[in-house]
Structures are given as structure tokens and as C-alpha cells.
């Protein structure tokens, strides 16, 4: 029998992507607080190189990268696999992580007393934990391995939320923890069911089974809501706004830009790779309804927020909604291959541009809060005059969220809208347009304050160094630069798709 997985050259890079941050976290524990920052920055630099090498290897081989741990084939062993979408996620993660690292270094460096303090040290270790978990989610093929990755993410993300130790953020973090655990339990239940029915936890092997019984239906019905709870899609978003708004700016950036994308990525894999076509179509419809509701409902909520960070947090829930309306637009579950469609590309671009724009926006909000001492939108009149670069960052990131050209968000929205128009999904098209309008509303509210000329110049509580302002600006410019990508399906996303087993289960 030919093995289900054959390791490819470059497969070791996937192990490196997961292990590098984990090793860095261990080294930090060993070397102590005074060296955490340096270790983290070195790990970030190496991690970017690894992501780059992975991307190069994928493009060169035009096939998915595979690594079989210890050369033990599933179902006994565990396989790592990265196709085009995974590599894209690895790359986005590396870019946002690197930017966050640089941003955090400057932010903590503002106050020399705390630069190497408890808060900063915990932050660096948790950041490495997050990164390792994220990378594992993007490359793992094993449902239990993925469960471990999700738990790692949760346990790294929750302390990040309450890093400052205030009662308010502790409550938010606990809320997050409880709900994430609820989600994990549901996921684990589903994974257990699948193991009982198929005798394997390998995604590819499960998918290639010839017959799917009710166990599959029940398992998916448990796992998908469990993951939705972690992704905070409406109406399961109860924990996200206080958690993301309460976390320190650098942490909010990764939480909003990356962490909630991990469960979304897994839902995508479950629906597109494992679910039998009938179930995939049902799941697609349900997820699209929730996604559309998320876009409309949470955009209105964002419009009504008094505080800048809460507004951005609600905007995250709204923007995540776009990722879920991709399912029916790409025709998931109707027998065609979704990954060559414009909707699939649109979804991937939405994911990327939102990650960049939202990270930039949270960092900008952090700078404003740091400089002005609060983030009440009403009282920010004229912040564009004292922090012109930060206001520009906010505006550029806002362009991408609103879907105004030229920006990655525009291309994403344009592709999704085209798919909706061609497929005759009028209600989805209207949702996309309405979401854009509402996003315009909440971005405009802030920009209006930025451009205002109040009689009294806004007082800065502390000077903001240029280096700090540049980092989010670069992210926002990247989000806008995505707008120069062609309006067509990407080849990259089709590499390694579909995930077909070389041998069918005996």
C-alpha cells in the first residue's frame, strides 16, 4: 500500500514554523526577563524568514508541502501539510507578528521603568505561544493536534487580554476563557465522535472515507458551533468587544487580526474538506446567514460605540462576517471546486486585508489612547493635527475596511460582489453594499474628529516618537497596496487543492 502522505522537500519548514516560537518561549523562560525582548525579536526575524522560505518553496514546487512527523503515517502518526491558503496564512501571520513585535518594543520602551517589567515579559512569552499555536492551526492535518493548537491559542490569548491586571479586563478575560472553553468542549466532542466512527483523526483520511454516517453529521454540528464561539461570529460575540477593547494595543492587534482567524480557518477546512457535499451546502447556507447578520448587526453596533477601541472591536465581528458569506458565493458543497472561483479569492483577500488593516487600526487607536490618555471618540477632536501620521494610518486602514479603491478591501468586496451578482445572490450583494456603507459611517465618525479644528488644540499627555507611528502606517499601506492585485482568481490559492489522499483507507 502506498502511504497516504509522502513528505516533500521543504516539509521541515512547517515544523520550524511551529517550533521556532515555542523554542523562543522556552529560551525566554531560561534566560529571564532581561533578555526576553531580544529573544523575541530574533525569533520574529527568523520566523519571517521561515514564512518567506515556505512561500518560495511552495511556489517553486507548485504542490502542497508535507511533513510526516517521525515518518509515522496517519492514522498512527501526525502529518503537517501546507497548501496555498495555509502558506498565505503563515505569511500574513508572520508579517502582522513582526509588526506587532516592533510596535510592542517601541510601546513598552516609552516607559523605561517598565520596558523589561512583568507586563512586557509576559507579553513576549504569550506572543510566542500565540504564534506557535496559529502556525500549527494553519499546517496541521490532525483533528486532535488542531485541538491542542486551539487550546494553546486560547491559553495564550486570555492572559494577553488581562495583561494590565485591571478588574475590568480580568472580567473580560474570564468571559473569553469560559466561552472559549465551551467552544473547545464542543469541538473535542465532535473530534471524539469522528475518531469513534473512522478510527482516525487525519482530515484527509476522514474525507476520503467512502461512506459517511450520522456520526459525521453530529460531529460537524458540534464542531462548527464550537469554533464559531471561538471566532465570535454573531450571535456568539459576547466576549469579543470587551476582551479586544480592553487588551493592550499590541495585543488587541494580534487578537483581532489573527487569533480569531484560526477558528475561521478550521471551519473552512471542515466545511470544504471534510463535510460531504450535502452537509457542506447546508453549513454554507447557515454560515452565510450568520455572516450576513454579523455584518449588518455589528456594523450598526460599531456605529453606536462611544469608545474608539470598542468601535474597532465591533468592526472586527462585522468584518469576520464577510468570510462566512463566501461559502454559498464560492459554491461550496454544490459539486464544483470552490478554490478556483473569484469568491474564494475574494474571501482570502478579505482575510488578508482585514488582518493588516485591523492590526494597523488597533495600533493607531493604541497610539491615540497613549498620547491623549483616553479613547472617547467625542473628545478626540483635532487629533489629526497633533498625530498626523496616526490619523493617516486610521484613514488608510479605514479605506480597506470600507472597501474603497485602491485597497485590498476593495478588491475583496468587488470580487465577492461580482460572485453574488453572477450567482444571483441578491441578498448577499445588498448585505455587502450595506456593510460597506455602515463601515463608511463608523470610519467617517473617527476621521471627522481627526480633521476637526477645535478652538483648543488637543493636549498630548506624552510625546509619541515617529518610530512608533511608522509601524502601523506600514501595515495600513500594505493593506492599501493589496488593491493592486489583479481582479481574478489567484493561482496561489489553488496550489495543493483539492486535498486528495493518494491511497483510500482500507
Amino acid at each position: 500500500m502506498t502511504p497516504a502522505y509522502a513528505a516533500t522537500p521543504g516539509g521541515l519548514l512547517l515544523v520550524l514554523a511551529v517550533m521556532l516560537p515555542a523554542a523562543a518561549a522556552l529560551v525566554m523562560l531560561v534566560l529571564g526577563p532581561r533578555h526576553t525582548r531580544v529573544v523575541a525579536l530574533i525569533a520574529l526575524a527568523l520566523g519571517v524568514v521561515v514564512a518567506l522560505a515556505t512561500g518560495l518553496q511552495l511556489v517553486r514546487s507548485q504542490a502542497a508541502l508535507i511533513y510526516v512527523l517521525g515518518n509515522w503515517q496517519p492514522p498512527l502518526g501526525v502529518a503537517l501539510r501546507a497548501d496555498g491558503l495555509s502558506v498565505m496564512m503563515l505569511a500574513v501571520t508572520a508579517v502582522v507578528m513582526a509588526a506587532t513585535g516592533l510596535f510592542a518594543r517601541e510601546l513598552f520602551g516609552l516607559d523605561l521603568a517598565t520596558a523589561d517589567g512583568r507586563l512586557a515579559t509576559s507579553f513576549w512569552i504569550l506572543l510566542m505561544g500565540l504564534w506557535s499555536g496559529l502556525n500549527l492551526v494553519f499546517v496541521s492535518q490532525d483533528l486532535f493536534n488542531l485541538y491542542v493548537a486551539l487550546e494553546l491559542l486560547t491559553f495564550a490569548a486570555v492572559p494577553l487580554v488581562c495583561l494590565d491586571g485591571r478588574g475590568e479586563t480580568m472580567a473580560a478575560a474570564l468571559r473569553y476563557l469560559m466561552f472559549a472553553l465551551l467552544g473547545s468542549m464542543l469541538y473535542l466532542l465532535g473530534a471524539g465522535l469522528l475518531y469513534g466512527a473512522y478510527g482516525t483523526l487525519d482530515i484527509r483520511l476522514i474525507a476520503s472515507a467512502s461512506h459517511h454516517g450520522p456520526a459525521m453529521a453530529i460531529a460537524l454540528a458540534l464542531m462548527i458551533p464550537g469554533l464559531l464561539a471561538k471566532a465570535a461570529l454573531f450571535p456568539l460575540h459576547l466576549w469579543l468587544p470587551p476582551a479586544h477593547a480592553g487588551a493592550p494595543a499590541a495585543a488587541s492587534a494580534v487578537l483581532s487580526a489573527l487569533v480569531i482567524k484560526a477558528p475561521v480557518f478550521l471551519i473552512l477546512r471542515l466545511v470544504a474538506d471534510i463535510a460531504p457535499p450535502g452537509s457542506a451546502a447546508v453549513a454554507g447556507q447557515v454560515l452565510a446567514v450568520l455572516g450576513a447578520a454579523s455584518i449588518l448587526f455589528c456594523s450598526v453596533m460599531a456605529l453606536r460605540q462611544e469608545r474608539l477601541k470598542l468601535m474597532i472591536a465591533y468592526s472586527t465581528v462585522a468584518q469576520i462576517g464577510y468570510l462566512f458569506i463566501v461559502f454559498p458565493l464560492a459554491g461550496v458543497g454544490d459539486g464544483t471546486t470552490p478554490w478556483g472561483t473569484i469568491a474564494w479569492t475574494g474571501g482570502a483577500l478579505q482575510l488578508t486585508s482585514h488582518a493588516l488593516a485591523k492590526a494597523a487600526m488597533f495600533m493607531a487607536a493604541g497610539i491615540v489612547a497613549e498620547a491623549v490618555g483616553h479613547d472617547r471618540i467625542r473628545d478626540l477632536g483635532g487629533f489629526g493635527r497633533v498625530l498626523p501620521l496616526t490619523a493617516t494610518t486610521f484613514g488608510l486602514a479605514g479605506l480597506s475596511l470600507m472597501g474603497i479603491p485602491p485597497s485590498g478591501g476593495f478588491i475583496a468586496k468587488c470580487l465577492l460582489l461580482t460572485a453574488a451578482a453572477i450567482g444571483g445572490h441578491l441578498w448577499l450583494a445588498l448585505t455587502i453594499l450595506a456593510g460597506g456603507l455602515l463601515a463608511g459611517g463608523y470610519v467617517f465618525r473617527v476621521m471627522d474628529r481627526a480633521l476637526a479644528t477645535p478652538a483648543q488644540r488637543l493636549a498630548l499627555q506624552r510625546p509619541i516618537p515617529l518610530r512608533l507611528e511608522i509601524i502601523p502606517l506600514v501595515l495600513a499601506v500594505l493593506a492599501v497596496a493589496l488593491g493592486f492585485l489583479p481582479l481574478a482568481p489567484f493561482g496561489l490559492l489553488q496550489i495543493g487543492r483539492p486535498d486528495i489522499a493518494l491511497a483510500v483507507l482500507p
Partner: protein
């Protein structure tokens, strides 16, 4: 790249480069004095380049620029007004706060509004249209008064709404074509056969009518145009509304007649022409009156394009552009005139008011002015039936509105101390006024197809004069509408809508309440369970 192509590209990039230059501190301090230079490449392109000049940007910048006759006519007028208004702005805003910001928004709006006249691909059109729309917010809200902020808010909401209409229309327009970013001409050629034709045309008309200010989508115009500083009002009213005109010209399929849609557009245009004049007469402030006059004039252009669409006559495009050129120069000149007249007193006041009056009556079609030429040129397109009479009556409305404007100007400037506007403001005004009187003569033979003299028969003159006489008689008979002034608030029906705002705000409040409930633990738990059951049931049924 050929010199012609280079000039076309420079027309678009020069103002953008100047806006980028404002990052440099040294350039920033000089930029107000250089504003008048920014549109000059576009002006040269409009004057020198032959129609048909085209240039494609290299990958990844998907944009194609091309010059055609209607585009060139509007481009020339727009660039001319931008240049004069830029010179005026340098003098008018000297030493005022926020000048650099104003210049950046000015240059971005300039680039967008000129670019939209020469861009040939759909994505590029949307990009530049958006650039012009959103950047103009900076001009509208510049003065930061309560009125300016309200105008800016209304402007922004409606501009974004228009963007949404257009985006959906463009996406549907491009959906059936092999190229994801087709040339506008190719997409429009395929439009009559598209299964989504009616939806596309309806959305296009809505989106562009919003920009032109056709009733009832005009509400932002009488708020935004008066709220901006004087030179910005001139370009907003003179140039920016033409983005809607060029949109209709480019995107409506004039080669294939669409009688129903043509009729709808023509009727909306005629109603706007009357409505704009009627609402304008009830206004007190000169700039608001001019804004309503813009609404009314754009109604006439829409009627003209509607007639062309109904008949499948592509020459409507050139004629609409010609009428647009006349309106650009005259309306721009009038806004500058308001500024100059407000600064002039004593003996200086009367020459300014006289020239202002001449420009104003040009809008009503005073013989020998550009308005007369424009009206004569478009007459054949309107036919000799009901539409023609309706348009003539609209000229009577324009006459009344402009007489009202002149009366208000005379009254408002009566107490000015003896002084004169600085030459930095007088000169641009005089140049625009002179251009508005001269340039249309030069283009008339090419566009109307007839010699200049042919328009000067007694019959043609009579066609122009009787509506004006009617207007004068009505104006006098009703006692100059003195009782009406101030009766209608600026933005008319918007005020009614704003009264409903508390009721509208209930929905978001309800959503907020619902959000609060959804974020309770027991509710969230039930929702999660409900999702599991919903999905599980769905999967089991599907299997």
C-alpha cells in the same frame, strides 16, 4: 511613451504629485501659490491632444486613459475653472487656519474630477470618481462651522450611498465580460444584451443623478456648495457635478435606444429644472440660490441626455458636454463673483454687479452669451414637441431665479464700505467671466453642425427671448417673490427627513438593546445550543 500620452498621464498625475509634495515642509508653505498650476497639463491636453489619444498604465496599475470629444470639452472647461479658482483661493484663504489641509483636499479633488473625464476603464473610473467624491468632503467641511459640519455629514452619507449604487452597477456591468476590468466602451456595448440591463441602468442613473443633484437626490447640494469657502464652492458647483454628467455620457448606451429609461431620465430632468428654480426663489443667500440654480441646470442636461437615450442618438453626449462647459464657466464665474462683490463697495461695486448680472442672465439664455449658444445648440436634440416647450419654460424659470439672485446681490452688497477686492481675486474672476463669454463661440460650429450665423435668424432669437420675457413679467408681477424668501429651508426635503430622525434612531437603539441581551450568558448558551441543533438537523436531513 509618445509626448501626447505623456501629457495625458501628466494631466492626472501632476495634481497628485503636488498633493504628495505637501509631505515636505518646504513645499507645503509654497503650495497655495502653486494651486493654479496643477490643472494646466489637463488644460493643455484638452486643447492640443486629438480625440482618440489613449494610454494604458503598466501592470499592476490597471488604468486606461483616453480622450474623446465630450471628455475633452468638459476637461478644458473644468481645468480652466480649477486653475482660476486655484489662483483665487491663494488670495482668498491667505493666512487662514488649516490652509495646508485645504490645499491637499483641493489637489486630490482636482485630480479625481479631471481624471474622471479622461479615464476609459471601469475600475479606474470608479477609483477616480471616489477620489473626487470623498476628497471633496475636505472642501465642504473646511470651515468647521456647525453648518459646514452638517453639510459635510449629509454630503458624505449621500456620496457613500452613490458609491454603493455605482459599485453594484459596475460589478454587474463587468460581470458577463471576459476581462475583469473592461473598458467602459466595451462594457456599455454589451449592456443592451445583458440580462441585468434594467437593474444596471437604474443603479447607474441613481448613482450619477445623486452626483448631479437631480431631485429628490439634490438635498446635499444646497447645503454643501454654500458651506465651502468661495473658490471651493465654484469648483464644487462648476466642476464636481459634471462627474455625474460624464458618468451618464459614458455609461448609458446611446447607440441602442432605451425609450423607457430615456423618458424617465428626461422627465426627472425637467422636474428638477422646475423644482430647482422654484426652490431657489425661496432662498435668501446668494450662494444657496446659485446652488439651486445648479440643480436646475443639471436637470436640463439630464433632460437632454434622456432625449438622446430615448432616441438612440449618440450626439447627445457632445451636446451635453457643450452645455456642461457653458455651465462650468458661468457658474464658476458667478461663485467667484459673489466673493468679489462682497469685497467691493462704493464705485467699484457697480461694474462687478453688472458683470455678475450678465453672467447670471447667460444662464437664462440671454442672446449673444454662452447660455444662448448652448440652448440653441441643444434645441434640435429636444425636438419640437412637448419636451422642447418644457425646456423653454424652464428657461423662464431660470430667468426668474437669476433675477432673484441679482436682486439679492444688489441688496446684500448695498452697505459695503468703499473698497475693492484684491487683484488676486478680481483677475481670476474677470478671466473666467471673459472665457465664459468667448470660448463657447469657438466650439459652437463643431458641435451644432451649423454656422454661427444660422443661429441668428429672428426665429431663433425669438425662441430665446420669449421665455426670458415671460420670466421678467412673472418676476415683476409677483412683486419679486418677496414674500417667498426664506420660506423654504436650505436643503428643503432634507429638513423633513431630519425631523423623522428620532424615529429612525429607534432601530439602532433596538439593535443595541438586542445586543445587550445576546451578550448575557444564559442567552448566549441557548444560542450556542440552538446552533448545534439547527446545524445537526440540517446535516441529518441533507444526508
Amino acid at each position: 511613451m509618445s509626448p501626447a500620452a505623456l501629457l495625458l498621464v501628466t494631466a492626472l498625475l501632476a495634481p497628485l504629485a503636488m498633493a504628495a509634495g505637501c509631505l515636505s515642509r518646504a513645499f507645503r508653505s509654497r503650495v497655495p501659490g502653486l494651486l493654479w498650476l496643477a490643472p494646466l497639463p489637463a488644460l493643455l491636453a484638452a486643447l492640443w491632444l486629438p480625440a482618440g489619444t489613449a494610454v494604458s498604465f503598466p501592470v499592476p496599475f490597471r488604468m486606461v486613459l483616453a480622450l474623446d470629444q465630450p471628455g475633452a470639452i468638459l476637461l478644458g472647461g473644468a481645468a480652466f475653472l480649477w486653475s482660476a479658482a486655484g489662483a483665487y483661493a491663494a488670495s482668498y484663504l491667505r493666512g487662514k487656519p488649516g490652509l495646508t489641509g485645504f490645499c491637499v483636499w483641493w489637489l486630490l479633488t482636482l485630480a479625481g474630477s479631471l481624471g474622471v473625464l479622461i479615464v476609459a476603464d471601469i475600475a479606474g473610473f470608479y477609483l477616480l470618481f471616489t477620489l473626487a467624491s470623498l476628497s471633496a468632503y475636505g472642501l465642504v467641511a473646511h470651515e468647521q462651522t456647525d453648518a459646514a459640519r452638517r453639510a459635510g455629514l449629509v454630503y458624505m452619507v449621500l456620496a457613500l450611498l452613490g458609491e454603493a449604487f455605482l459599485l453594484f452597477a459596475f460589478v454587474m456591468l463587468a460581470a458577463g465580460l471576459p476581462d475583469p476590468n473592461p473598458l467602459i466602451a466595451d462594457a456599455v456595448a454589451a449592456l443592451p444584451g445583458s440580462p441585468m440591463r434594467d437593474g444596471i441602468v437604474a443603479l447607474l442613473m441613481l448613482g450619477f443623478a445623486l452626483k448631479m443633484g437631480l431631485i429628490p437626490l439634490h438635498v446635499w447640494l444646497p447645503l454643501a456648495h454654500p458651506a465651502a469657502p468661495m473658490p471651493a464652492s465654484a469648483v464644487l458647483s462648476g466642476v464636481l457635478v459634471k462627474a455625474g454628467v460624464i458618468g451618464l455620457v459614458r455609461f448609458l448606451p446611446f447607440e441602442a435606444p432605451l425609450p423607457t429609461w430615456g423618458a424617465i431620465l428626461a422627465i426627472a430632468g425637467i422636474l428638477t429644472a422646475y423644482g430647482g428654480a422654484a426652490l431657489g426663489v425661496a432662498q435668501r443667500r446668494p450662494k444657496t440660490i446659485l446652488a439651486y440654480s445648479t440643480v436646475s441646470q443639471m436637470g436640463l442636461v439630464a433632460a437632454l441626455l434622456g432625449a438622446g437615450l430615448a432616441a438612440g442618438d449618440a450626439s447627445a453626449a457632445g451636446l451635453a458636454a457643450y452645455y456642461g462647459l457653458h455651465h462650468t464657466l458661468v457658474k464658476g464665474g458667478l461663485f467667484l463673483a459673489v466673493g468679489v462683490a462682497f469685497a467691493s463697495g462704493g464705485a467699484r461695486r457697480w461694474p462687478v454687479l453688472l458683470l455678475t448680472g450678465l453672467l447670471a442672465l447667460s444662464l437664462a439664455g440671454l442672446p449673444l452669451t454662452s447660455g444662448a449658444l448652448a440652448k440653441l445648440a441643444v434645441k434640435p436634440m429636444l425636438g419640437y414637441g412637448v419636451l422642447s416647450i418644457a425646456v423653454s419654460l424652464a428657461a423662464a424659470g431660470s430667468t426668474i431665479l437669476m433675477l432673484h439672485f441679482i436682486a439679492v446681490m444688489v441688496r446684500e452688497t448695498a452697505d459695503n464700505p468703499p473698497s475693492s477686492a484684491p487683484w488676486g481675486e478680481n483677475l481670476p474672476f474677470l478671466i473666467v467671466a471673459a472665457a465664459s463669454l468667448l470660448i463657447p463661440w469657438w466650439l459652437y460650429p463643431t458641435l451644432s453642425g451649423g454656422a454661427l450665423a444660422s443661429g441668428w435668424s429672428v426665429a431663433s432669437l425669438w425662441k430665446l427671448v420669449w421665455p426670458m420675457m415671460l420670466g421678467v413679467v412673472v418676476f415683476m408681477a409677483t412683486g419679486r417673490f418677496a414674500g417667498l424668501a426664506g420660506r423654504v429651508p436650505e436643503g428643503d426635503i432634507l429638513v423633513l427627513a431630519e425631523r423623522q430622525a428620532p424615529r429612525l434612531a429607534r432601530l439602532p437603539a433596538a439593535i443595541e438593546g438586542l445586543d445587550g441581551r445576546l451578550r448575557l450568558w444564559p442567552v448566549a448558551g441557548f444560542v450556542l445550543l440552538g446552533l448545534v441543533i439547527w446545524l445537526g438537523g440540517g446535516f441529518l436531513l441533507a444526508a
